[in-house]
Symmetry: C2
Subunit: 283 residues, 2 copies
């Protein structure tokens, strides 16, 4: 049982882990990949570096710093978080338990380039099977994705309907599914009040709903599934960086505000102090 599991290895997540270790809280940091910072070529404005530094360099420095102070770091992809007394975090390769969880996976809302897509977000385009699945009982369901995250969502959606079509949107299918799979890219989305059809490749498919499960779940996806409040896709936290779910915290880009390294790192310090306080009071 960890005191805290930090999901995300960017400035917010690593700083949270660094501070938690200093408070002698045993902390697991799970990171999938390099995130937004890993794609940043030049960092000039992060205090303390006289010369330009690359995003990946800063990122690995942060992770090594967290490791040096005792953080256990696992490179894996989180698939689900369950909350019942304590938190159970399921990844592709393992399962971990903790008293608290800090979401720090950055801002990763997934949009499709398909024409008309943005018009139907919330009007038949959904980011959460567990939230909206029951609304589409026995309806024609489209599910976009190609990996474990899509498979997770598929298992949930099967409880509501047999009529499910998978759209990989041009990606290679990486998991086994027992439903029809369309490999072509989604080009257009049609509908009136709500979504009615999508065009993938040169074929048109009738659907009543389109569930999005591309890539990996984001912090917002986890938050949504657990019943945490979102505002404009940002996770809502209180002054202590806690969501409306006791013990579930969030920090960095996924809670909005200035999307800057130093702000994310500052959030990391704040959330760690809040988690430390929470653990003192509740465990």
């Amino acid at each position: 049982m960890f005191d805290a599991i930090v999901i995300g290895g960017g400035p917010a997540g690593a700083t949270a882990a660094i501070y938690l270790q200093r408070f002698k809280r045993n902390t697991l940091l799970i990171m999938k990949d390099q995130g937004a910072l890993g794609k940043t070529a030049h960092v000039d404005n992060y205090y303390g570096f006289v010369d330009t530094i690359t995003g990946p360099d800063l990122l690995s420095r942060g992770i090594n710093q967290a490791r040096r102070l005792g953080t256990e770091v696992v490179q894996d992809e989180v698939l689900s978080i369950d909350y019942f007394d304590d938190f159970t975090v399921k990844t592709i390769h393992g399962e971990y338990k903790a008293k608290t969880v800090i979401l720090a996976t950055g801002k990763t809302q997934v949009y499709l380039k398909a024409k008309g897509f943005n018009d139907f977000i919330g009007k038949g385009i959904s980011y959460c099977a567990i939230c909206d699945g029951f609304i589409y009982r026995n309806k024609k369901i489209g599910l976009v994705g190609s990996k474990e995250f899509m498979e997770e969502e598929l298992e949930i959606l099967k409880q509501f309907s047999d009529d499910i079509t998978i759209f990989t949107n041009g990606a290679k299918l990486e998991v086994d599914v027992d439903k029809e799979v369309v490999l072509e890219e989604i080009k257009e989305v049609h509908g009136q009040e709500s979504i009615q059809q999508i065009v993938a490749g040169d074929k048109t498919y009738d659907i009543d709903v389109l569930f999005m499960a591309i890539g990996s779940p984001s912090a917002s996806d986890f938050a949504l599934r657990m019943g945490a409040f979102l505002d404009n896709n940002y996770i809502v936290v209180d002054e202590e960086f806690m969501t409306n779910i006791p013990g579930l915290f969030a920090a960095g880009d996924c809670i909005g505000g200035l999307l800057q390294i130093v702000k994310a790192a500052s959030d990391g310090a704040h959330v760690a102090i809040a988690v430390h306080k929470y653990l003192k009071q509740n465990h």
Copy 2:
């Protein structure tokens, strides 16, 4: 005329300058000394440094980073800030004009170790001659300090009373004054509702008020003199890091919150963005 003068060269001030330069705002940074960070032997928890770094090392890295991006850095001591359309910042060695000023001089409330001192703060112990001087017209005034800052306060107090005694509190007197000077350390403060006597060395002095002007003015001192609101000695700023005085901003430890390097640096980024926006709208 600078777009912005940043007072203070720690994480908040340097980061503000770094961001402002990136916005092509010509910025002057005035720093006196190394501040709180300069006295920190080990920094382990500032994101991005795998190994322990010293405070002075981090501090000089930040200043050099600001310089590399084009910030003019002056090592000098600010004595006063005047506001009339624009800001005039007077230092020991010069005078500078700017459209905006950012206070980032850390947390430097000065207390005396004298017995009873804390009991009389606000009860005859004052940190602002310009604010409280008129209350003590023709009264017995004690003024604590030994340097330029004390001299500045003395000039103000002379307008209100001739009966002024300087207490250097054990420090060497570094300026010329035409008043009685007591060089001994202040050991005790006595009074009833308000201060009445202080004991310095083995002598007791009757006073009606004790003005504090030790060392250099802090951000709070400047803010106070300019009529900015303080709360518990922290400068009150709005969401845009601006005080109640248009164009006067503050960031870092002097506005309170978490007294951590990364929070101060994050403040610096925020305040720079706010100043940039303010300059766009008002100049």
